[in-house]
């Protein structure tokens, strides 16, 4: 055993300030790279699990991504509604276990209003099958008792300071709210908040949920997107009307068995009476992510470059130290060190520095992760796993180690050349 390891450790300790700085630079770059990778994965997983436990989403005939966008993310609009009869037929298919209708189109101060049934709270799942939880209150009661009851998402409650018992006014279309035209408000029929949902990190946080019949009720005296002139039916009279839904925008569907999902999808897509589209939310979410995922890959590429910069700095520091250490190399040669040993000594030094950087980087990542995880989960619904490195992270770590090995060859090779060329001449 040659004393190479202890020599390089001592030599590093002798230049501890520059060594520390390079290690910190590498550590920060490694923490950034792995952090980006981790956030990226968690964001993708979180995104892919915006809806879980729902086997199919059904809407009017149209694009899969569009249907996903308006039904789950409340972005954009459906080109057509689906008649209530068609939804009933879907619900009656033998493999369908449950169906939660969604009626979209109204808003409240910029937040989307979702007309649905109280089954929504029972069946909507996100993440690893997590149900929606109430921070306050409870679900709206079925009509007629709960006709003007509403449940608000966590973001809605936080933004506007809402609590159970407060009354809110819905607006027609997405026009209403602050600055919107007053005529669009359903001001005559306010809703009472009966529940506030806990944060889920899904679009539900930004939604106001009411019963389907409530949506019908605020529109009985409306036609074609505007109040019918001269007709005003107050909330006390509206209950006499038939408030059963005529049409809805989309529906979440659960099946008895996932195995049947493609068969049921085909059945719905080919149901004769009305052209419908059924999508598998998971697959469509993946498709959507591949569109928005370019940014996260660019981010990863940039952080990989930061690691390269960190390693380049490390090489620069070690190479710069070589100039003043040439006589050190000659001493080692005189003592019997072979050029390969000189090579190994310098390679070892760079490798030790980069390994220290990588380990410190991992420490930073877990430290920052542990500190930031609760906040990230609460604000963004990101669940930063604090488990060991994932397969992808191991791959990245492997790549960083490989890169640092390659980088270490630069000073090692220079030292090797010096030790051959200098002989025992101690250059001062």
């Amino acid at each position: 055993m040659t004393p190479l390891l202890s020599l390089s450790l001592r030599s590093i300790a002798n230049r501890r300030l520059s060594a520390l700085l390079t290690v910190v630079a590498v550590a920060l770059s490694v923490a950034l790279l792995l952090g980006v990778e981790r956030v990226r994965n968690d964001a993708r997983d979180g995104f892919a699990q915006t809806v879980s436990g729902t086997d199919l989403i059904v809407g009017a005939r149209g694009g899969a991504v569009q249907l996903l966008l308006y039904s789950v993310f409340h972005i954009g609009h459906a080109s057509n509604n689906v008649s209530w009869q068609s939804m009933q037929r879907v619900a009656a298919l033998p493999q369908v276990k449950w169906l939660v209708p969604l009626s979209l189109g109204d808003s409240h101060r910029g937040m989307r209003v979702v007309g649905t049934t109280d089954d929504f709270f029972r069946h909507y799942r996100h993440g690893e099958g997590r149900a929606l939880a109430f921070a306050q209150g409870k679900a709206f009661a079925p009509a007629p008792d709960g006709l003007f009851e509403a449940v608000v998402g966590a973001e809605v409650a936080a933004r506007f300071g809402y609590a159970v018992g407060q009354r809110i006014v819905l607006s027609h279309g997405s026009l209403g709210g602050e600055g919107g035209p007053r005529f669009a408000d359903h001001a005559d029929k306010p809703f009472t908040i009966v529940g506030v949902l806990a944060r889920s990190g899904t679009p539900v946080d930004r939604a106001v949920l009411v019963g389907l019949e409530g949506i019908e009720a605020i529109h009985v005296d409306w036609h074609g997107g505007a109040p019918i002139p001269g007709l005003a039916i107050g909330p006390e009279h509206v209950r006499k009307f038939d408030l059963s839904p005529k049409s809805v925008t989309a529906a979440l569907v659960g099946l008895d068995s996932r195995i049947a999902v493609f068969r049921v999808q085909r059945q719905i897509n080919t149901m004769g009476e009305e052209p419908l589209t059924a999508i598998l939310p998971g697959a469509t979410l993946q498709e959507l992510w591949s569109l928005v995922g370019v940014a996260e890959r660019a981010l990863l590429a940039v952080s990989a470059l930061v690691v390269v910069v960190g390693l380049a700095g490390l090489v620069a520091v070690v190479v710069a130290s070589l100039g003043e250490r040439r006589r050190e190399l000659a001493i080692l040669r005189a003592l019997g060190a072979s050029p390969p040993q000189v090579f190994a000594l310098l390679a070892l030094e760079s490798v030790l520095l980069s390994l220290a950087g990588i380990v410190l980087g991992l420490g930073l990542l877990y430290g920052a992760g542990a500190l930031a995880a609760p906040g990230l989960a609460a604000t963004w619904g990101l669940n930063l796993g604090l488990g060991g490195p994932s397969a992808g992270e191991w791959r990245l770590l492997g790549a960083v180690i490989a890169a640092s090995l390659l980088a270490s060859l630069v000073p090692a090779w220079r030292a090797y050349r010096y030790s051959l060329a200098d002989g025992l001449t101690i250059r001062i």
Binding site: A334, G336, G423, I426, I428
Partner: protein, 245 residues
């Protein structure tokens, strides 16, 4: 007392024969030596002006570089016959070096600098073991002989130049290599310290039974040596070079 072993007398510590060396890229030979030898335990003063090739000759004796022609043998072993790795180990085992300046690794203590010679050489450790001592004990013994006892734990960078050169001498001597090579080791010392250091080196080599090849441009230091050799006298390359000039 000086030349203890019979083997030491018979086998020359250094033998150079019909040797020619030219630095890569140089226009002419640096060294061309027909015959030069240092006997076992012999103490030779090799004189030559600056730039005459003294350090080059020591590099050849150490096997750090190889001649283009002829042989350089140390302790009877022609160095060119050894593979590069074995040659490096052979140097660690059989030759101790003392340089002009900056002999020590600055980040090691004086003690660790001395012990470094043993860590690169199993043969030096083995020779100490045969004598019933350890590298640490021997470092301690040499240090107290060289009046370094109380600075052993100090970092090399904190030592005076004189102390550094004595640590270098201890490192060259530890584990009893057959040959000590000193390359102007006193040129950084005050005039009154120079002779003291040389006397010390001569004594320790005699005590260890090691041959000493001491090179310097300063003939005033040549007292007490067994033999004085002028590099210009044995180096044909230098003669022809001067003739041409």
């Amino acid at each position: 007392m000086q030349r203890q072993t019979a083997a030491g007398r018979d086998v020359p510590a250094v033998a150079v024969a019909a040797m020619r060396y030219r630095w890569p890229g140089a226009a002419r030979d640096c060294l061309a030596i027909e015959q030069f030898a240092v006997g076992g335990g012999e103490r030779v003063f090799l004189r030559g002006p600056s730039g005459s090739g003294k350090t080059t000759l020591l590099s050849l004796v150490g096997g750090v570089i190889l001649p283009q022609a002829g042989t350089v043998s140390v302790a009877g072993q022609p160095l060119a016959r050894l593979s590069a790795g074995v040659r490096d180990r052979f140097r660690a085992d059989h030759v101790g070096f003392v340089f002009q300046l900056f002999n020590l690794l600055p980040y090691l203590s004086a003690r660790d600098n001395i012990l470094l010679a043993c860590r690169f050489s199993a043969a030096r450790r083995a020779r100490l073991a045969v004598r019933g001592t350890s590298a640490e004990a021997e470092a301690q013994r040499l240090a107290s002989r060289l009046e370094l006892g109380d600075v052993l734990h100090r970092s090399a960078a904190e030592l005076s130049v004189g102390q550094q050169q004595r640590v270098a001498a201890a490192r060259a001597l530890i584990g009893r290599p057959g040959l000590i090579v000193a390359d102007e080791p006193t040129s950084a010392l005050d005039a009154d310290r120079q002779q003291a250091f040389i006397d010390l080196l001569l004594d320790e080599c005699a005590e260890a039974g090691a041959a000493l090849l001491f090179v310097s441009h300063d003939l005033r230091l040549a007292r007490h040596f067994d033999r004085i050799v002028d590099l210009a006298q044995i180096n044909q390359a230098a003669v022809s070079g001067e003739a041409a000039a």
